[in-house]
Symmetry: C3
């Protein structure tokens, strides 16, 4: 079953910086918010990983707190990275051996060749990015690092002057009202798709409810937001819904899947480390998205839910709506226990052509391999236990399904061919 | 452990048409909404299964889309039907072999004997029906096909003129107000129980909250509903609660269990295939039903919840309320992963005399066997793993429990003896 | 792996009466609400366990209903107690053998030595109590039976005259307003901590939302509550939040962990047996607690959630907030299926130094051992399956984790050392 580990990796969502994809030193690995937040949650003061510290010191500081979290799956990725990419011979990273590991993992001077090394050793095929709308999308191979238009700021921060300013600068459209906002967004989609973008993406708080835009109702609040005027809560809500709907219209027009990452609330724990301040409210339902899914029948919506207990509902919505696809297991849901439970239900109840396996959500290239290995292991166990063990499938039939989940489906759904013809 | 497969099947909820219980051709099997909706969800246009097509063409069309869903448990029922009842020799149903299967499964001319054949081969003992309130309940053996009064229309559609019209016609009561509505409902219960009905059933949307009827408050809205006048949302809500409470009062009087199927919202995806348009909102709680469970201590409420994540709450409510019983796993919850998790908790935490195993929810007789086999397999695995493996039970003790769950409890709860004496 | 069974037991929450900790007769074991409520839920009238009956009769009566629940994990504790402490030779407790068991388990005349026997045979190290705020905390060894200040009445029943009366009597503070209420609470914390209390605890209904106290807003409602005047719902809510916040301030000042048991709604089923009337509403989220967790960074909050499906959210909040710790599995969540699912996720995703294994919630000493054995078995299975089986851990590494979870972490978190230095 470990045949899967010889397959290429297609990663439909990450936060990789394509101009600096692999870690230049081990501090960039240890700086992943999973480690700083878990260490902080177990007692480490945030100052110990202050961004002003030099990388070696910061790595040494964090290593002193790693033993508190060496049971976690997140920690296992770390050790796998050290062992796979840096010939690390130990089972645990300690204050005593982190210095040697730091030395081994130094690639400040051979960055691009190191990027390539990690890429090849991981058998990466495509890595999707998270590009701000004003990213110029220049400076990397867009057939390997696939642009993806991230739209949180447009929907959630239109009222912040900086957002409109950035939008004007990057589109050359004088954004002053709903009509010119739409023009600017069209310019963005045009630029992104011409540069090879294959998805639009957004993360949405649990209280967001998409509803059909009513331009007449939105025109004034949107103008007021662009002018930086104070807004009432209902105006905020109208603006968010309107811009979001406009993005969905552009996904339809430009034939882009629209990744919905449903759940995060930002800054719930303001005293946390960078990247470790967001949480969620589990009282969320896809029922709130019914108008969206109905209206945009031609748009593919790969959906991730943040609250692990919301996974079963996503199975039902993917079972009924042709355009709703269950996307990878993400962030607080990205834990083997939750993945395994979800995956079992998805494989038992959903069309195999709709199963989108996994994405890394990684910030550095090195994480893609151990995270996908974790997922592939769970997939293999699920298939061995359920499909082969209980349904009597052959190994070949199980591998065929694994291949769909890991490769064929993501390739097709996020390919450049028009999406309308299927799912 | 496969001893269970030799037991009879007692099926306390189905949508079988007792005048035409088994499928007359394989299109009636493939036409089950599970297949059309899964195929549609994976890209099949609804026109391919249009009801105007001839059966053979429709079966052929659907077969072309089945490979997309051949991983699912729903598909496994299909293959089990083909192999068990139609000597189908293959592992998968394909466009190439569906024609032969269609030929084999043709029973247009020997319908009743085919019904009997399926009944016997499945070792069916009793199959509960879903009878609209104006069903005349004539034309079948009511000791095999047990009538069950389905009451959704009365509660949720009283304001539709057709409902009142049907009610007048079937009861001969001139329904014009709350008092005559009650008379009509008494006539219904009288007729149904005299014809052998052993349950009243309803499916309720997640926002429905039963509350004690206040005739003074309801009398005007109910009259207005019967007259077909426009209603405010709070009037709709009052009418629903009032009629629902009246039904519960009749269940108490006529000693009928009241099956509550909590969760569905109708027509969430209007463009779906027939039967494949309903979904749910997972934010639902049995706490909303406390007044009902308290007030009607003598009524047995077999409860099913649609949202899989609501299953754990049902365990707690069945643990405390004598009159709340955990019913089978249904629709979007009818997936092995969800059943197994639920069943484990139910067996570990609830009195064994309250466990109501499973119901088929089938539209055609052929589905009862593979669905019950799926459930019996999960039950066997759960008992083998948990009870025998971890608690050290003997096989006999495990089988005794299985028998309670599958046969003794449903027979007792849905039997004709007065229910008041126990849970 | 059964090495764990030789370890001492540290039990951070119980309802043991330290003046009469072990059961004096088997009726006190059978009287545990788990048995009376399960028997009642399966048909036993409450009169059969009326408190006016003599113990032997009541035990005999209950035994007649035990066969209905002999599948449950709760029942397995009972048999384990009988076999471990009373040389009971059978597998099931029946009406025929309960008399002999009752005889064997009679310890009316040798109470204290029996307490000690159970304590030693169970290898108990420390058992936390649930002390009402006006408990005089006299008459037992407070290094074995650790006082814990239970505060439900102060927060939820301040408007009841009896509460204020009890508060005045026990503190000698003339409680008449917010300021004197604070004084009285300070007296309580001072007394409890001087007597060795190591935790403050409260159970909170699902609709409780802690928010930062605004004395100006609370001063009038609190005075009115103390005077026993009628209160509006918003005043009730303000009073609860204010008193709760004041307790948290005292936990900070006195360096006590504040156990939050989130979920119960009291008296949902008023006709139930004593202890078997409470349930919950599953629509609850820790997001409502964000202000509390943020504001009281120095207070450790061991959190238990009553609704089993809320467990995954607690994993996320413990992952981020240094002061939120996942506490044991409780009441309706105290079922192996739920514990196993939760525990797997906690071990995979949370710092090992934050994992607080289990508490007995017991009313009689005899229950601590079988309940902890149940948990230790699940812990052993989880570690064998996940950590050793899948992560390749050694047995020693797994045992090291088990020891943290069961002993080292609870000892540290509930120890007398100041808590400020770490979560
Ligand atoms: Zn991301
Ligand atoms: Zn049904
Ligand atoms: Zn307790």
């Amino acid at each position: 079953m470990e045949e899967m580990s010889r397959w290429p990796i297609f990663d439909p969502h990450s936060h990789i910086d394509p101009r600096r994809p692999a870690a230049r030193n081990f501090d960039e690995v240890l700086g992943y918010h999973y480690y700083t937040e878990l260490a902080h949650a177990s007692g480490m003061p945030t100052e110990r990983v202050d961004s002003a510290l030099d990388p070696r010191t910061r790595a040494q500081n964090l290593a002193e707190h790693l033993s508190a979290v060496d049971n976690t799956v997140q920690y296992s990725w770390l050790v796998e990275i050290a062992r796979t990419f840096h010939q690390f011979p130990h089972d645990r990273i300690t204050p005593a051996n982190v210095g040697g590991l730091f030395d081994k993992a130094l690639h400040e001077n051979d960055g691009p060749s190191w990027d390539l090394h990690v890429w090849k050793q991981s058998r990466l095929e495509a890595v999707f990015l998270t590009n701000e709308f004003d990213d110029d999308l220049e400076g990397w191979d867009a057939s390997a690092y696939i642009p993806c238009l991230r739209t949180d700021d447009l929907v959630l921060k239109l009222h912040e002057p900086r957002t409109v300013e950035r939008l004007r600068r990057t589109t050359n459209v004088d954004v002053i009202d709903l009509a010119s906002l739409r023009q600017a967004i069209t310019v963005l989609f045009d630029r992104f798709t011409k540069k090879g973008a294959r998805a639009c993406a957004i993360s949405l708080p649990p209280d967001f409810v998409p509803h059909r835009a009513a331009p007449r109702r939105a025109v004034t609040p949107v103008r007021r937001a662009i002018q930086g005027l104070d807004l009432r809560p209902d105006e905020h809500s109208e603006i968010r819904a309107t811009v979001f709907w406009m993005l969905a219209e552009h996904c339809a027009e430009f034939k882009l899947p629209f990744d919905l990452m449903i759940g995060p609330i930002r800054n719930v724990y303001p005293a946390g480390v960078a990247g470790g301040r967001d949480l969620f409210d589990r009282r969320v339902s896809l029922y709130d998205y019914r108008d969206l899914f109905n209206h945009f029948a031609s748009v593919v919506f790969p959906v991730s839910t943040l609250s692990p207990d919301a996974g079963a509902e996503l199975v039902a919505y993917s079972w009924i709506f042709p355009n709703v696809l269950p996307m990878g297991h993400w962030w607080y849901s990205n834990v083997p226990a939750f993945i395994a439970a979800d995956l079992k239900a998805r494989i038992q109840a959903l069309p195999k052509v709709k199963l989108l396996g996994y994405y890394s959500d990684a910030y550095k290239l090195e994480f893609i391999l151990p995270k996908f290995n974790m997922y592939r292991r769970i997939l293999a166990e699920t298939l061995a236990g359920e499909a082969i063990g209980k349904q009597g499938w052959t190994i070949d039939r199980a591998l065929e399904l694994a291949r769909l989940v890991l490769l064929d489906n993501p390739r097709r759904v996020f390919g450049m061919k028009p999406q309308g013809s299927r799912s």
